[in-house]
């Protein structure tokens, strides 16, 4: 992306597209942060905020769709432009999905307030921060076209998967120890799964960034063998 296009309005449109994705990324980060505050600090105002903000992410995703479709039609992009615009559709979808997971966590956090508290909430908070850092790094990496930073996110996904597996076992133990916590533990299990999915989408974005910059895909086999 070093040189400018002969047609300057093409550069302007691409900048707008990237900025819209950056805005969507920032919102997704805030949503995940809000959901974690609702979960770990029982901050119900944050939970409500997350629930009402979700529509803005949907709207931004749609805006990215429209911009990308328009660019395909007007510019018939090639090479790095083609990759950037095609991947913008996928990245905005990843970010919108991340928003959905944050919203789902906020909903469960509200319900958990009425339940007996469970130890696992602290571990979930740690997993949440890991995922939050991945998301924030991958959004930065995208804006800065920094594949190296993106790859560091990609490698951290294995850690999230391990975290999820151990949390799963931990939560099952609590259910067995005290069946009165069953309902709360089911919510916590879903939250753990949601966080794991957020990590997957952050990893997807890192893969897409790699494709945008280098034009080839990174081998996904790692996630299966890990």
């Amino acid at each position: 992306m070093t040189r400018e296009h002969i047609v300057q309005s093409f550069d302007v449109a691409i900048d707008e597209l990237v900025n819209t994705i950056a805005e969507l990324g920032g919102l997704a980060e805030a949503q995940v942060a809000g959901a974690l505050a609702a979960l770990t600090q029982r901050d119900m105002a944050a939970a409500d905020q997350v629930r009402t903000t979700d529509a803005r992410l949907d709207a931004l995703e749609e805006k990215v769709d429209q911009m990308a479709v328009r660019l395909f039609a007007l510019r018939q992009p090639m090479g790095v432009d083609l990759r950037l615009i095609a991947m913008s559709l996928k990245i905005s979808n990843d970010l919108e999905r991340i928003g959905d997971y944050a919203s789902s966590i906020a909903k469960r956090a509200k319900r958990l307030v009425g339940e007996p508290s469970v130890q696992a909430t602290a571990s979930l908070g740690r997993m949440g921060h890991l995922v939050q850092d991945m998301l924030s790094d991958v959004v930065d990496a995208y804006v800065e076209r920094d594949v190296r930073k993106g790859m560091s996110v990609w490698h951290r996904d294995a850690e999230v998967d391990d975290f999820y597996d151990s949390l799963f076992r931990e939560i099952i133990t609590y259910v067995l120890e005290d069946p009165r916590t069953t309902s709360a533990c089911i919510d916590l299990l879903f939250i753990a799964k949601n966080l794991e999915r957020i990590g997957d989408h952050a990893t997807n974005i890192a893969e897409r960034l790699h494709y945008v910059v280098h034009g080839d895909r990174i081998n996904r086999a790692r996630s299966e063998t890990a």
Partner: protein, 272 residues
């Protein structure tokens, strides 16, 4: 980091596609001068059989010049001097024993501006077979004219007015007539120099459809200034710049992930 990751991918057994394909024409170390001015520099390029190879690059980069080397059309330009090795099915086409008229029947050409002879539609197509003595009887010639026009996707539009002048047809029809004329002498390779640049989008679509059909029988090399057209019609694309071949590869790769920065800049409209 990505290299380390990529190394895990299974790569061993699959041979590169290019190795499997047969090359119809092969050029090595082609240098060309117009007088003192060098227009081609050390061009090495293989043209695969039954494929469409697109030549792209900015105006004046030598696409037409290179194309004209492939059937020695440059011989008609006095100041032009060609060096290097150019082979058709392994035979050196610049060898003294080669009959240039016969070579141009084997390697036909279609130009930018449709250029039918000032003759009837029928005679435009019949002309080549007649001078090459390809047919004996009138019935055979009729059959060859019909077959050529059919393969050029023009027969249905002209069968009732074969005696009308060729230059009375629309631009797109004239171009298909020129293609029929090239086909009639039984070529193996068809060279096309910006064959659609004088045509409207519908006529262009007809020619592109035709090119896709023709590659089953012929090997096609097309010069085009439209990258979208190159992407649509070709299997391989060669990018020229200032008389040099900068990059050649699978068309899908060239337009999504070219290897050379110069190719990238050109196809994305960032040039110069």
């Amino acid at each position: 980091m990505s290299e380390a990751v990529r190394a895990e991918a299974p790569t061993a057994s699959r041979p590169a596609i290019a190795e499997v394909r047969e090359s119809k024409m092969r050029t090595r170390h082609v240098d060309l001068w117009y007088g003192a001015k060098q227009a081609l520099f050390d061009v090495d390029l293989d043209i695969n059989a039954n494929e469409v190879t697109a030549l792209i690059g900015p105006s004046g980069c030598g696409k037409s010049t290179y194309l004209r080397c492939l059937n020695r059309m440059n011989d008609t330009i006095d100041i032009c001097r060609t060096e290097g090795d150019i082979r058709l099915d392994g035979e050196d086409i610049y060898d003294r024993s080669v009959d240039v008229v016969e070579l141009r029947a084997r390697v036909g050409m279609v130009f930018q501006k449709p250029n039918p002879f000032p003759k009837s539609i029928y005679d435009n197509v019949a002309y080549g077979p007649r001078i090459h003595g390809l047919v004996g009887t009138k019935a055979e010639l009729d059959a060859l004219v019909e077959e050529s026009l059919t393969r050029a996707a023009l027969w249905g539009e002209v069968k009732d007015r074969l005696a009308d002048p060729g230059n009375g047809l629309s631009g797109g029809q004239q171009q298909r007539l020129c293609i029929a004329r090239a086909i009639a002498v039984g070529p193996e390779v068809i060279l096309m120099d910006e064959p659609c640049s004088a045509l409207d989008p519908i006529a262009t679509a007809h020619i592109e459809e035709l090119i896709d059909d023709l590659k089953r029988e012929f090997t096609i090399v097309i010069v085009t200034h439209s990258m979208q057209q190159a992407a649509r019609v070709s299997q391989r694309t060669a990018f020229f710049h200032l008389g040099k071949l900068i990059e050649v590869g699978e068309t899908d790769d060239i337009f999504t992930s070219p290897q050379q920065q110069m190719t990238q800049d050109y196809i994305t409209g960032r040039f110069g």
